[in-house]
Symmetry: C2
Subunit: 128 residues, 2 copies
Amino acid sequence: MKPEPTDGELEILQLIWKHGPMTVRQIHDHLSSEKQTGYTTTLKMMQIMTEKGFLGRKVYGRGHIYHAKLSEKKTTQNRLDAFIDATFGGSASQLVMQLLGSKTTSEEELSKIREILDDYENQKNKQS
Amino acid sequence: MKPEPTDGELEILQLIWKHGPMTVRQIHDHLSSEKQTGYTTTLKMMQIMTEKGFLGRKVYGRGHIYHAKLSEKKTTQNRLDAFIDATFGGSASQLVMQLLGSKTTSEEELSKIREILDDYENQKNKQS
DNA sequence: AAATATATACGAATCATTTCGTAGATACAA
DNA sequence: TTGTATCTACGAAATGATTCGTATATATTT
């Protein structure tokens, strides 16, 4: 029914979420500064994303300005849920376990995570 | 150089990690109890995974027994790293933030996560 | 021994994503 | 006005994953 954007499509959505509605040219300039890709490739992707209902567009001069039709929050959550299902059998706590025991998670990230958790626990305590 | 297993390939790896080395038949019995798929499809996948170096196999009677050549820990970590990069711009703390604020993470999972974090902080404190 | 069941190997169809060439329209500049 | 740049549209090739039919070998059963 409602397919999720692919990783490639997500890159484009993320640019729009971050910087607001953009033309194909603008998106392509961002993308091509990170990886080598042709203009018509970007164009085609955005056309397909529009067909799929991920983007909408409005005429602007000779071309169009594209905007996101998916919410960042929901899209991210859907990806996260699918990932936890596929990788950790649906267990979020196992994910956190892996995160904490991992060398690839920097000390800085870890302390941020600790803060977030503390804040979260404080919130909970207030409520009770 | 060293490609990561796809989601489909991961399902097979997970069965072997969980239950130990298995024949195609055994894998297929597990898989087909969850989703509709043909025997030769499973066979072909496992042959390809062997070519890719994800599985190894030993002759056993008429057929083979397949074993994992990838470690569960490393494979999971690689997937997690790639996922955090693609979805949260590399920020693990943002992932945790999303996790805590999400309805899809059950109360039970949340309290487990809290425990894990507490344990982790205690460990850290001991060290210092 | 003949029929049946169960393996592997392999080629090819199918499907989705990504990539890009080419054509046509329109603006802009020399 | 003639060329140059910049858009869109569209078809189709390239890539990679998955699916499956068919051939062949080898056991097992009757």
